[in-house]
């Protein structure tokens, strides 16, 4: 059953179109991830889905409600964890949690019990009385997540839940996302960590420059990639000029140069190394290294989007500082 569905969802800021008519749906009970580089339109999409931004055009349906017209009804069912914390600096962790619960109409005794439970769950029980501003980055993110789930929402939106925090907190958060999902919460998250998407999400949408360029089940995306065989050659000479003659000699494969001295042979069939070694040998080029690449989600992402994963990560972290 579809719990979220968008049709031709578009957001323009003046002349600039940040989200360009995207169609996608999220199944009830799954973990769905938006994977894309900085500025792809992930946050803008989440903002439209949660009621913080008005779509320029298109439609949103969440839990059978019109997500634009009846957003206040929808907001009762969803929890939102923004990319940067928006809790109250001067209030304690505990007070922040009970206040957020009260916004959803939770009774005093119930919200206090729930806040206590969540502080323990996140290993924040000792710091519950401290003001939020005294928290470390990882603790802040954890409390922001606790605030997002305090009213036990059916759907949880997480915008880059593990970006910019310590490894241990990130690990705890991923574990928590898993266990929330096991208990039935539908999760929509965004990330620019390919590995994270691969590990957490049942389905992934690749989003680049406001468009979904690929969407599918994580398993299928991986299988699709593994149907192809890739061998990477590192040469002692510039690789680019060899591509045309390689294609001429080996019409069944495709060739991609990935660095000044490196090229990749991609083939539907198993790649036999010898003919290629001869090819280079004839031209007096020595091969420094030849290795078989087992395609990961990263490979697929790079191939489809043309964006180097490492670069994507660096940009993002640079921005956060």
């Amino acid at each position: 059953m579809k719990i979220i569905e968008t049709k031709q969802l578009t957001k323009r800021f003046g002349d600039f179109t940040a989200v360009k008519g995207i169609d996608f749906s999220v199944e009830k009970g799954e973990i769905f991830g938006f994977l894309g580089p900085n500025g792809a339109g992930k946050t803008t999409t989440i903002n439209m889905l949660t009621g913080l931004a008005k779509p320029t055009s298109g439609s949103i349906t969440i839990a059978n409600e019109d997500g634009i017209k009846n957003i206040k009804k929808v907001q009762q069912l969803i929890g939102i964890v923004p990319d940067e914390s928006n809790l109250y600096d001067d209030m304690s962790g505990f007070d922040n949690l009970t206040f957020c619960a009260a916004l959803y109409g939770m009774e005093k005794s119930k919200r206090e019990a729930r806040a206590k439970h969540l502080l323990e769950l996140f290993n924040l029980a000792d710091t519950g009385k401290r003001p939020f501003k005294a928290y470390s980055k990882g603790m802040k993110r954890k409390l922001t997540i606790a605030a997002g789930i305090i009213h036990e929402p059916e759907i949880l939106f997480l915008d880059e839940p593990t970006t910019g925090i310590d490894v241990e907190s990130a690990r705890q958060i991923r574990k928590l996302i898993h266990s929330l999902n096991k208990k039935g919460t539908t999760i929509f998250l965004t990330t620019h960590y390919i590995e994270e998407a691969e590990r957490l999400c049942h389905r992934i949408g690749f989003i680049v420059e406001g468009r979904i360029v690929k969407i599918g089940e994580t398993n299928e995306l991986l299988q699709e990639a593994q149907r192809e065989n890739t061998v990477e050659f590192s040469l002692d000479e510039s690789a680019a000029f060899l591509a045309p003659s390689l294609i001429k000699d080996f019409p069944k494969v495709s060739v991609k140069t990935v660095g000044e001295h490196t090229l990749r042979i991609i083939s539907e069939e198993k790649v036999d190394l010898m003919p290629f070694m001869n090819f280079f040998d004839e031209r007096g080029i020595s091969v420094r290294e030849a290795r078989i690449i087992h395609p990961s989600l990263e490979e697929i992402f790079v191939r489809i989007t043309g964006i180097e994963a490492g670069k994507m990560k660096k940009e993002k972290e640079g921005k956060r500082k």
Partner: protein, 244 residues
Amino acid sequence: MKKRLAFYSILMKDMKNYYLKPPNISWGIIFPVAWTLMFFLRTGSPVDIREILPGVMSMSVLFGTTSMLAVTITFERKSRSFERLLLAPISLNLLMLAKTTGAIIFGVINAFVPVLFASFWIDFSGVAWGTMVLSIMLIAVTSTFLGLFISVSVSEVFEAQTFSNFIRFPMIFLCGLFIPIQALPIVLRPLSYLLPLTYGADILKNSINGNGLISPWLSLLVLLGFSFGLFLTSTHNIKKKWIY
């Protein structure tokens, strides 16, 4: 029920976090006390104190309320915690009422600081208490919504303060608080009638000294008009600018 709980929680959180904090107590309570004492000690005679009491009360309300909104709205918007409120399942109107009710209550309390002080010098015979409380409430509502309008129009707290002062200080002189409107140069008089405080101060004068110039019913209507107008313009601006 759920909505009431959310409303009440927002109100209490603001009271606890902002209204009862030392800087606001000083701005909100000590400031009117200082004004009051300054005016009262200078005038000295009971007749004069009674004469300026409406002006001092109005000013306490005006300053108390408008400076609060810069914190509860502009500051929260800046720190992004306001987003959390916008994402909550409560209507924008209810949310903004919750965010402003604290300032209104605070304004009304501020108004009675000068009354408390005045009670040492004068007796209050002949004061129409019902009308006085009503007019103070109206002034508090109107100036709170004026503060709301200002705090929604700017993005920095200091801008809110500057913008407020730009409006507040002329109001002191133009609204007949201390200088009767008839004593103003004729070119400035139309300006006086464009400002809400003129009408609030007039009802207040009527209730304390029976010397208002405008029909209280007309003033009441004008104040209600200003309040609705400012509130609706503010929520409209929030929808346009903050739910972008």
